[in-house]
Amino acid sequence: MKPLLPSLALAFAMAATAPALAQQSGGTLNMVVQPEPPGLVVGIWQNAPTQMVAGDIFESLLRYDTDLQPMPSLAHDWSISEDGLTYTFHLHEGVKWHDGEDFTAHDVVYSVDVFLRETHPRLRASLVHVDSIEAPDDHTVVFTLNQPFGPFIGVFEVGTMPILPRHIYEGTDYANNPMNATPIGTGPFRFNAWRQGSYIHLVRNEDYYLEGRPFVDEVYYHVIPDAASRAVAFETGVVDVLPGGSVEYFDIERIMALPNTCITDAGWEYFGPLSWLWLNNHEGPMADVNARRAVMHALDREFMRDALWAGRGEVATSPLSSSTRFFDDDLPSIAYDPDLAREYLEASDYDGQTLNLLPLPYGETWQRAAEVTRQNLMDVGFNVNLVATDVAGWNQRVSDWDFDLAFTFLYQYGDPALGVARTYVESNIAQGSPWNNVAGYRNPELDAMWEASAVSPSDAERQEIYSELQRRLIEDVPNAWLHELGFPTIYRCNIHDLVTTGIGLNDGTRDAWIEQ
């Protein structure tokens, strides 16, 4: 790989002002995937690395742009009835599965109504609003809802509703289907090989229904377990794309000093990853609202963002990520204010108990964030103990509510009804999962509002309720919100159109092309 441009500044300027260059075909895309996925059939596996590789192999009915507006994918056209109950999708004709079979509306009905209903917990939660899914002909799918559910138009993304081949899975034991080893999708790339522990190799789907696409000939996903070695892989030119989270944040500056290196925060709008501290509302010192407020104002989140997250991302101002629909930018402040924090602490019942703080065991940056948090909390008068765990231990402790404060981050999936309500409603309190209302926040009044807003027919009404919800949550501080995380993708500047949607690399690389 020869450096194309002498300086980084110039590279940025070029990327920003580049005229529409003619897309060039050919070349190989070398990316990192971390950790190694357990399998590639998204639907059976929902892990982040599975989603990233599977986005090249499988497709869904829609994609979403960076403003979360739906874009065509397997469906070229769609409509929603006036009453918000009927969603009709018109599918591309001439689409084939990688094994040559025709893709039809019956695959869609099977995937959603049978397969995913059984395997996909997140979609299952949305499907309770669906009465029936039908295929009136081979290229039309009609979803009928039992009541209006505004967020529904946001669930047709490939990680949420991937379309799987009925002819391969119907009547089989999905998890043990031998075809899982050689996944068959409709996507721009076909599965070619998976050398366990080394790489996954995809090749161009020559029969892809969009003429000329994809542009690159093959994609390699390299499996490199150590973060420092992933940085070395980019520095030595072995890989050309480092997806968000591949390298530690303190390495970003060094990598960005390399020639022909670009970085973008785009491609995460649909997920809106937001980090926070779970505060144990069930019992202990954090059950007291004033103690929680003290925590919220004690945290110097600007400093964390600048010093730990390499200036990437934003300090959270709401329980909603700013890219999530119905985010309100006019809310009471939850900014750093140690004096205010001390006042709240004074007003609380806290009398010096040691708080157990669980860091997120996802690498060095998170560990440091926990250390800063501990320091911040001790500065206003809390006693804090850091609890060391690994991923499985963290899962267990959070699931069992065995903490006072615990780091986490969650995706919001574009709509508060899909990705935010689950964290705060009482019906979602249950031991055994680290992803439900772990904090144990109970507020029946707000529960009614969450319910009403999800099925409210107009966006204006929804906005009103969600603004009120955001204000009320900030008052109660059930959790201490930290950052809208930036997961920058680092890549060679001569790779164009790598991230084109609000789903980013998880949406596959069908539009990417390499300038030779």
């Binding site: 522990g197 150590d226 892989a233 991923v391 499985a392 899962n395």
Partner: protein, 323 residues
């Protein structure tokens, strides 16, 4: 001799069984299970999802039933399935074994050859500057953490100098065959094998040097000198051969680690071997894979202990097997 080996093998089987039970209990005592880790990675889950996973993995069974099923399988050499990778554990290990053997065997040979030669050289020049340099280097490598050496080696030889690939087993996508492929793998092997070998080289140097010096003061060496033998012959035939016993003990230990002893090196250099498989299995609570690797490693340790004992007999005629 045959009876000795047979008796040792029978003992080994019982030790292995005990190791199995112990490992199984220890692993299940760690917090979390594979289902919760997998659900955790998905970022969303519900009761049904977790139950499905646990049922599929057989984790809904009581502990003693799981243990019994595992032992029953293991004595028939069936190591079970990887929860996460959906493959038989034996296949996974078999698949990763060549890479690990190549790495650890190379490191083994490097460390023995260089360690013994440098140790002999240092002993022969005792007190001179070349002895000091060898001893100082040996101490340095003995004391330096392996992962740090690995990272620095990758940074220097791969990023800065660009001489050698910094990670991986071969050039992905190059599709070399035959000799070109062997050469490519060889180039990838240099850094990890050297890194892994450094620590043991340092130990061999120190061990050989000390042992050589000790033996060289013994009476029979004086006798050999008095007979008028040349210094070279005395060094090789009289001193070295007698000084090698502790080195063989150590080599037996290192050889025992040949399957599972390269966790750090394989992780830093993305070497697709068994050490990494084990490391990932720990964090993913992939019990069967972990137990499988432990099982194979334990078997190797037992095997190499036996081999070491036999080698003693061959090298040192004073040692006899008591029947």
């Amino acid at each position: 001799m045959a009876r000795f080996i047979l008796a040792r093998l029978v003992k080994a089987v019982f030790i292995l069984l005990a190791i199995l039970v112990l490992n199984f209990s220890l692993i299940h005592a760690a917090p979390g299970d594979p289902a919760s880790v997998m659900a955790g990675e998905a970022g969303a889950t519900d009761e049904q999802f977790l139950e499905d996973l646990r049922r599929r993995f057989g984790l809904d069974q009581p502990f003693h039933v799981q243990l019994w099923i595992y032992i029953k399988g293991a004595v028939q050499l069936d190591l079970g399935y990887s929860y996460r990778r959906g493959m038989p554990v034996a296949d996974l290990i078999w698949d990763r074994l060549p890479a690990t053997l190549l790495l650890t065997a190379t490191a083994f040979v490097i460390s023995i050859v260089f360690g013994v030669i440098a140790g002999v050289a240092a002993a022969a020049r005792q007190g001179r500057w070349s002895d000091s340099i060898i001893s100082a280097l040996a101490l340095l490598f003995y004391a330096t953490p392996l992962f740090w050496v690995a990272l620095m080696a990758a940074l220097l030889f791969s990023v800065v100098l660009g001489w050698l690939p910094g990670f991986g087993y071969e050039t992905v996508g190059a599709n070399y065959t035959g000799f070109a492929r062997a050469l490519d793998i060889g180039r990838h092997l240099v850094l990890p094998a050297t890194t892994l070998g450094l620590f043991f080289t340092a130990i061999y140097v120190r061990m050989t040097r000390a042992s050589m010096l000790e033996v060289s003061r013994l009476d029979f060496v004086k006798t050999a000198r008095a007979k008028g033998l040349s210094p070279g012959v005395i060094q090789r035939r009289h001193i070295l051969r007698n000084a090698l016993l502790p080195v063989i003990t150590l080599a037996g230990l290192q050889a025992g680690q040949i399957v599972g002893g390269a966790v750090l090196t394989e992780t830093v250099f993305a070497w697709p071997g068994i050490g990494r498989l084990m490391f990932e299995a720990i964090s993913q609570r992939d019990y069967n894979v972990l137990l499988g690797v432990f099982f194979v490693s334990a078997a190797m340790v037992l095997l190499f202990n036996l081999i070491t004992d036999i080698v003693y007999v061959i090298v040192d005629p004073r040692i006899r097997i008591t029947e």
